[in-house]
């Protein structure tokens, strides 16, 4: 029963160890192991999703210490759906990286670090315990720190300093909040906390909620706390940026959604109103930053920020429709954003530059490149029938239903501006006649592994747009689960009564 829950953590971990063992040998071997590891993790995540879909929330108590005393792994629809999508994009990134990465960075341990990152991400999705969430966050951050500064280029270390210090600050906030929470509640198990918190003084709970909002807000890059992201995400090699763009901020959003639906729902008029204001400001500042930029990956980095706003918008409404829009948006965004970064890398490689002014005429040498760029770009802007349209439609409908008309207006204007900045890339890089002549076409030797992931992710984007119904059902069910705290508590704490005759090693009875 518990195996499906543990495998998404175990497989990347084992892959990491194997990769470390063979890293001095031939590159082909480590490429093969990395791809196999990523495929197996994707399969394990898919199996877990199917399991959760048929059997409801799955729980396993590690070491058979019953919750709330022990550590639990919990998978509900929300976390297992995110697990599948994030494994999908990491699979695509790993395949892309085998053709992209330079031997120096590979020798320095690129692939093992990617899998350590995946262990952290998966752990953060699956854990049912706040302190373990902190630990998984740190696992993920350590791997991302090293990935970010693996080369020793000026830009990388500069971006790295900002990324590292801001994220360490966020971790400190997180840990302080968890410490105070333990002090007043006496537990850190999420299900147990959701039982205990309503009995406590709402004032101190709100203070702790805001501490968590700041900590996760920095990691998710919401409005006043996002500035580290555009400073650092465009500096590392393309596969690293793509992986970061797809996964890291989304783990922050996941944590925000988790704590603000399960724990801090005592005073939504106050806490969720703040989230709403942050969401609207995040959308606006992100898209304005993107419009000002003149470089492909910087534009894309600012768009991560603006899109985070839509997800937080859905959370701030705290309605079934709002939350299901957040879930759908997360699924759509992880796929699209990773793909845009991957294609941005192809544009840089074929055009010989990342600056829009130096690019031009790319559709003459690679017409298909323009096509696979347009699919995620238009999806990001919300053009039907691609996935972004349904995501935005859901957010806007949820906003109307909740009567937050100002924020809805912001969301609509921002999606227009998104379209504008995506068309800017398209015009400058693909359509424009002048500019430097494209320096090189992709080498035939590597081009399959570079292009295949982007094509696959573009297909997924079209698929979850045209066949939106199953994904909508999934996100609606996931939202219902998120709002049904009693079911979560029963699933986690019910496991306690299932293990009646447990005795402590010392001989006393539990």
């Amino acid at each position: 029963m518990g195996l499906t829950l543990v495998l998404p953590l175990l497989i990347p971990l084992v892959t990491t160890l194997v990769l470390f063992a063979v890293r001095q040998r031939r590159r082909v071997i480590s490429h093969g192991i990395a791809i196999i590891g990523a495929t197996l993790t994707l399969l394990a995540a898919a199996v877990l999703l199917a399991d959760v879909w048929t059997h409801g929330i799955r729980v396993i108590a590690i070491g058979r210490w019953p919750p709330p005393y022990g550590i639990v792994l919990v998978a509900d629809l929300f976390s297992s759906a995110l697990l599948v999508v994030s494994q999908l994009v990491s699979w695509a990134t790993v395949v892309y990286a085998t053709a992209w990465m330079d031997p120096d960075r590979e020798r320095a341990g690129f692939y093992p670090l990617v899998f350590v990152l995946l262990v952290g991400v998966n752990g953060a999705f699956l854990t049912g315990d706040l302190f373990n969430l902190y630990v998984w966050f740190e696992v993920m951050l350590m791997a991302s720190f090293v990935l970010l500064v693996l080369g020793v280029e000026r830009g990388e270390v500069e971006g790295g300093i900002k990324y590292v210090s801001l994220n360490l600050l966020a971790s400190t906030f997180f840990l302080s909040a968890a410490g105070i929470l333990y002090g007043i509640a006496g537990t850190l198990n999420l299900a147990d906390l959701s039982v205990v918190l309503p009995r406590l003084d709402p004032g101190i709970v709100t203070v702790i909620a805001m501490l968590f909002a700041v900590a996760f807000g920095i990691k998710a890059a919401v409005f006043p706390l996002f500035f580290w992201l555009p400073a650092s995400y465009h500096t590392p090699p393309v596969p690293v940026s793509a992986l970061f763009a797809g996964l890291l901020t989304k783990v922050g959003v996941y944590a925000l959604i988790r704590v603000f639906t399960l724990l801090f729902v005592h005073d939504p008029g106050w806490t969720h109103r703040i989230l709403l204001v942050c969401a609207a400001s995040t959308m606006v500042t992100g898209v304005l930053g993107a419009l000002a930029q003149q470089e492909v990956r910087r534009i894309l980095s600012f768009h991560i920020v603006s899109q985070i706003g839509y997800m937080i918008f859905g959370l701030a409404l705290l309605t079934p429709l709002g939350l299901s829009s957040s879930v759908y948006y997360l699924i759509h965004h992880i796929v699209v954003k990773t793909n845009l970064f991957l294609i941005g890398g192809l544009v840089e490689r074929t055009g010989g530059s990342s600056r829009l002014a130096n690019l031009g005429g790319l559709d003459r040498i690679h017409p298909w490149l323009g096509l696979i760029f347009l699919i995620p770009a238009l999806s990001l802007a919300g053009i039907p029938p691609l996935s972004g349209f349904f995501a935005k439609l859901l957010v806007i409908r949820a906003g109307f239903a909740a009567g937050t008309y100002c924020a809805v207006a912001v969301a609509i204007v921002v999606s227009l501006l998104t379209l504008l900045s995506m068309l800017k890339i398209w015009n400058e890089a693909f359509w424009k006649e002048e500019g430097h002549a494209p320096s090189s076409s992709l080498q035939a030797k590597h081009s399959l592994r570079l292009v295949l992931p982007s094509v696959l992710l573009a297909l997924v984007t079209i698929l979850i747009g045209i066949a939106a119904e199953p994904v909508l059902t999934l996100s609606t069910e996931a939202a219902e689960q998120l709002l049904d705290n009693q079911a979560y508590r029963d699933a986690v704490l019910g496991a306690r009564s299932a293990q009646v005759a447990y005795t402590f090693p010392g001989g006393g009875h539990a």
């Binding site: 120096d104 020798r107 320095a108 302190f131 902190y134 630990v135 740190e138 951050l141 350590m142 720190f145 090293v146 500064v149 080369g151 020793v152 280029e153 000026r154 830009g155 270390v157 500069e158 971006g159 790295g160 300093i161 900002k162 590292v164 210090s165 360490l168 600050l169 971790s171 400190t172 840990l175 302080s176 968890a178 410490g179 105070i180 333990y182 002090g183 007043i184 555009p230 400073a231 650092s232 465009h234 500096t235 000002a292 930029q293 003149q294 470089e295 990342s354 600056r355 402590f504 010392g506 006393g508 009875h509």
Partner: protein
């Protein structure tokens, strides 16, 4: 005793934040260390300071009777110390790398990745090639 711990944690937080706002990267790292230690003291204090009551079950009882010293905050702090130590080592190495790459520890000089437009070509240029080569060799060996 709690008051003393609380004041101490507050002092560490204050000093840490002050150092974080300095321009020198080294001071920022020292600030992060102080913040981490402040947090550890905070958790320790929040868990309750109880003396001389170890959480041991007496031979004739089935559970510990409160008040007892809660071992969990200490376990949390232990984990947090290990993590922050690892992160700290990384941060120190990064500061050293940055200094080798840029020959400065002034954060106001680290603005090329934030600038609009021009500078990026310089940002993607490798640092001093000789240094890169020697460091790669060392890692291999």
């Amino acid at each position: 005793m709690e008051i003393l711990f609380a004041l101490m944690a507050g002092l560490l937080y204050g000093c840490g934040l002050y150092l974080l706002l300095r321009r020198s990267i080294v001071k920022v790292v020292v600030g992060l260390i102080l913040l981490g230690n402040g947090t550890n003291l905070l958790i320790f204090t929040a868990g309750g300071l109880i003396r001389g009551r170890p959480p041991l079950v007496p031979p004739d009882a089935t559970s510990v009777s409160p008040p007892y010293a809660d071992p969990l905050p200490q376990a949390l702090i232990l984990t947090a110390i290990v993590i922050s130590f690892g992160v700290l080592v990384f941060a120190v190495a990064l500061v050293y790398r940055t200094y080798r790459a840029l020959s400065t520890d002034d954060l106001d000089a680290l603005i090329t990745t934030d600038r609009l437009g021009e500078v990026p070509e310089a940002a993607h240029a490798p640092m001093i090639p000789a240094v890169v080569a020697s460091e790669t060799n060392r890692e291999e060996g």
